[in-house]
Amino acid sequence: MTVRWFPDEMPMPAANAETAGWWEAAAEHRLVVQRCDDCGRTRHPPGPVCPACRSLAAGWAELPGTGSVFTFTVVRQAFLPALAGQLPYVVVAVDLDEAGGARIVSNLVDVDASDVEIAMRVQVVWEDMGPQLAVPRFVPAAP
């Protein structure tokens, strides 16, 4: 039994050749970042070509799942009808540890919105949205 934060009616990711590996890792509750096989540059979201050296060769580097809040907002008016009942919710941009500067947009959950601050430490938690789909969200890191 997994914790659910967002409803079933959320849009599902349409994985493609570039992103499938990321979602497959996520389904196993592994937070990864795409890394160029040739120059080592990391990138997120996943993409087809290294933006530094234009290599097509890339793999997935496993991350510790911790990071720091780069910036955040508290969404109080949803665009997706599915999220109307979830308001307010916190959207964060997280600087991921050991990710070579890559950043992810996600949610900070299990937190009072008024307690969120830039630079606060966070760690990943996983929400299973289906048998083959898990989504990383973040919670304040244990002190």
């Binding site: 967002f6 959320m10 849009p11 599902m12 990711p13 349409a14 493609n16 992103t19 990138r43 997120h44 979201p45 996943p46 993409g47 780069f70 910036t71 955040f72 907002t73 508290v74 969404v75 109080r76 008016q77 949803a78 665009f79 997706l80 999220l83 979830q86 919710y89 959207v91 941009a93 950043r103 992810i104 947009v105 996600s106 949610n107 919105a113 830039i118 989504v135 969200r137």
Partner: protein, 390 residues
């Protein structure tokens, strides 16, 4: 635009359509109204047009407008980089007439977004729906919204530079002061900083009144050469220089630094091509999707140092007689924001340079800058306009 420019691009005609609420018109009818008025303003007719530049939210958009307007242009451009598109279309049109690829380019925009959406404030859109395609899912899956992206930038700017909600609010207050003198403006009631910061939060730290309105409306301009414009109806306004830039697509996670917009790249290039500096600019028309957009833009175009945008815009800094009179028609925050507002920036800049600014005319305005911002702070485009060649 090369150093040697025997043919000089000018804007010979401008117009806005009716706005902000046009339930009786289709999108293409709005194009038609704006285009007809812009050509009349120039003293030209549709028969003179040999180039068309326009864009919307569907592929092959310009060909549709050409068909509806009965045009068979030899020059066609529908470059779309979001809200900055129309600055790019004017830049391209200037290149085209200077290269001799066209003589008279009609640049036109039309939208009935408000009537189609049935809501008045631009606060929620952009989260994606259903199966989010491609990389967009990497923001959409977490319920981030369009205003949420700009809120992430605003929060970061506040953190790094101690920018305040009251400073952001000052942008909306000044735009409303300008809108009060524009009989067409969507919102004209006086506004205070306290009103803005006490309006409901949509995505912290942005309030409802930090967000642009959503409107119906359109606008158009006519780009031709100085030679062709010499005997036309209105004094020509020169396209002195232009440039555009992009930092990322639609995922703010892919932006290196959310506090720096593409204006930092294209602004200095446009000014250099125009042969001017920011200090030479008399009046500015800056894309104001959200209050933070304007703060970032005045910094990145070099009107003040990075981090000083909050202080620059407060205390009437963007008002008449202020540090940089901006959005003299009331802007997207109060006057009209029909999906993509870029064409309105050009129209108002030209009106100011002609002395047609009415109650918000900047005295003896000689050089104006129009800067569009598109996507999630993803794109920027700067056009420098002048009454004469400096």
């Amino acid at each position: 635009m090369s150093a040697a420019r025997p043919r000089r691009a000018v804007i010979a005609g401008v117009a806005t359509s009716d706005y902000p609420l046009l339930p009786h018109l289709s999108e293409h009818a709005v194009h038609g109204q704006a285009a007809d008025r812009a050509l009349a303003d120039a003293g030209l007719t549709f028969a003179d047009v040999d180039g068309l530049a326009t864009t919307g939210f569907f592929p092959m958009y310009a060909t549709g407008v050409a068909e509806y307007l009965g045009l068979h242009p030899l020059y066609l451009d529908e470059t779309n980089i979001g809200g900055a598109s129309f600055e790019v279309l004017v830049e391209h049109a200037a290149h085209a007439v200077e290269a001799g690829a066209a003589e008279v380019v009609l640049v036109t925009y039309g939208s009935v977004q408000l009537s189609q959406m049935g809501r008045r404030l631009g606060t929620g859109g952009g989260g994606g729906a259903g199966f989010a395609p491609g990389p967009a899912i990497y923001d959409a899956l977490w319920g981030n919204t369009l205003v949420g992206c700009y809120a992430l930038a605003a929060r970061r700017h506040m953190h790094q530079f101690a920018t305040t909600a009251e400073q952001l609010a000052a942008v909306a207050v000044t735009m409303r002061q300008h809108a009060a003198t524009n009989p067409q403006a969507q919102e004209r009631e006086p506004l205070t900083v306290a009103d803005v910061v006490s309006s409901r939060l949509v995505a912290d730290p942005l309030h409802k009144l930090d967000c642009c309105v959503i409107s119906d409306g359109g606008a158009a301009c006519v780009v031709t050469t100085a030679e062709r414009a010499a005997d036309l109806a209105k004094p020509p306004v020169y396209v002195l220089g232009a440039a555009h830039a992009t930092t990322h697509h639609l995922n703010v996670s892919a932006s290196a630094d959310l506090t720096v917009s593409p204006a930092a790249q294209c602004g200095p290039v446009a000014f250099a091509r125009a042969g001017i500096t920011p200090a030479d600019v008399d009046v500015a028309q800056l894309y104001d999707s959200f209050t933070i957009t304007v703060v970032l833009t005045v910094e990145d175009l070099g009107f003040c140092a990075k981090g000083e945008g909050g202080a620059f815009v407060e205390d009437g800094g963007l008002g008449l007689g202020g540090r940089l009179p901006t959005n003299t028609d009331g802007g997207g925050l109060s006057a009209c924001h029909p999906g993509m507002r870029g064409m309105f920036l050009i129209v108002e800049a030209v009106r100011q340079l002609r002395g047609e600014g009415g109650a918000t005319q900047v005295p003896d305005a000689r050089i104006a800058v129009a800067h569009g911002t598109g996507g999630m702070l993803s794109t920027g485009a700067t056009v420098v306009l002048g009454r004469e060649i400096p």
